[in-house]
Symmetry: C2
Subunit: 341 residues, 2 copies
Amino acid sequence: VKLHDLPTPAVVIDADRLQHNLTTMATAHPGASLRPHVKAHKCTELAAMQHAQGHHSFTCATPREVIGMAEAGWGDDLLLANEVLDPLRLSAMARAQQSARITIAVDSADTIDAAARAGLREVVVDVNVGLPRCGCRPDEAGHIADLARGRGLLVRGVMGYEGHLMMVDDREEHRTKVDDAIDRLLEAHEQVGGDVVSAGGTGTYHLHQLRRRVTEIQAGSYALMDTHYARLGHPFQQACFVIGTVVSATPKYAVADVGLKAMGMDHGNPSVETLDGNGADVWFLSDEHVTFVPHTGVAHVGDRIRVVPAHIDPTMAMHEVAWLVMGDQVIDRWPIDLRGW
Amino acid sequence: VKLHDLPTPAVVIDADRLQHNLTTMATAHPGASLRPHVKAHKCTELAAMQHAQGHHSFTCATPREVIGMAEAGWGDDLLLANEVLDPLRLSAMARAQQSARITIAVDSADTIDAAARAGLREVVVDVNVGLPRCGCRPDEAGHIADLARGRGLLVRGVMGYEGHLMMVDDREEHRTKVDDAIDRLLEAHEQVGGDVVSAGGTGTYHLHQLRRRVTEIQAGSYALMDTHYARLGHPFQQACFVIGTVVSATPKYAVADVGLKAMGMDHGNPSVETLDGNGADVWFLSDEHVTFVPHTGVAHVGDRIRVVPAHIDPTMAMHEVAWLVMGDQVIDRWPIDLRGW
């Protein structure tokens, strides 16, 4: 099958670029010092390639990601970096402990209680390091750890996600702010104990490489990338596109079949380029269409385009399948099998 | 099952409000004068309720919506209001003609050729009435119709979507602009012929009710609604919510498990309210979370919230199932079975 034969909209992954990204990150953070986040791709076949790079521990954002990874055989060490209260999903993860090692984040008495009742065995204390989302205060972390141990849970350490610091432009400011955030995490870790100090993402992986103050980073987007992370100028290549077909064209603009139901829109519009690499002005996306003007002039009905996501994570979650390609040859079909909750 | 027992994030449809919306629209546009657009809900069970209101013709945006509606038995008269070139999907729709009447929009020689080759039988000419998307110029419509007839296709009439005019605030300006757009469609119809003049949406249904210049309108969002269409002050009620659970809370803000993978974000942030109807300030959404501050003060871990979509169509497309509720009683489970392409 050729790229041109795929039904569109089609998520396409460039095998060479993916391999480049995986190798680049594995060089910076080899083995267990990277805990790849599967929420960015939701695809066990892609996780298998990360496993082959030597990363045997994974980060997940939902119970379904955890259970899907366990069922696929990649359950050596799964961290659910999220708080869950739902007893049915917690119990399903507890059952998956028969074949997988599962650790869940907790940040309150309620989340500890829910995990313990369901029969989960291991937790990390989620610490707020500045992003207003989940996580306890650093000075509460010791108390949370004590509560967890009091319920018979093994406390493996701490995690904290400096998500508010992925996009700081000034290098010195970026380093200082991330250092401050990790200071908070290490302050918590002193009270909590355990082997795990988990943090970081694609936007800060290089700072953690410089100063190994955390034991592992949770990067996910580096594998496929998007236009948002591309602005940082890191050595990762855009490896994922949504291929569209021009279904209507005028001398002034063209319309292709990649709409906002095929594209995560929270980071704004995607970019559009022709298959030979020329850019385009994107006018707007509606449910099933993108209206655009190629820089090189008129597009024709039947032409194919590449749409580059502004945010890879929600884009992958909208599709059932990704096609692995080399050049214009389709070499594999990967189900996006970790969707949903 | 009670509302409080549903695993979250959960799409919930209020049965009474849905019924109110369906009845209100069926009074304004009874029977065949409404061709409900299934792209807004992607749910054959909801289409069944629209069918029970007396609407036996439906609008679709994707081949999968067409085929799913045919398989569910609602294939009396399905219009794919979109251009398609993919031969496999066109052939699949042609096969579905054994049990369903299927009409597809065309706006070019290429789309006519693709439809004819696949064995489709009926088309409408898609006319651009001002929105820069699909559709031929009004003065080309006669030629397009001739091309279609030359390929043995039955031309049922014209369609044109005044999507750029859904949100005009000034009433007089709104009426005038919609009249001008429909002038363009009727100019095309004079050249094309046929029984069908299809246009309109939830934002313009009342103008088409006043002046019956089109034979049918294609509204979809009216059934479930969103905060965007709610601004128009039409007599439709918000019938769809995504229920979330507070998984982490501080004295300053709370975090619930409804993130941007559960919520169409192209129209901006959703609204958040407590189950007793009080509002909240929404700070931001990330992949799996919304961070918010309830107007009535602190939220607690385990509290449930309602998240009201800013755009219903992509929100429905992100979920596998919707739960029908009356009060806090869950009365049915509806698969969102028309997702994908």
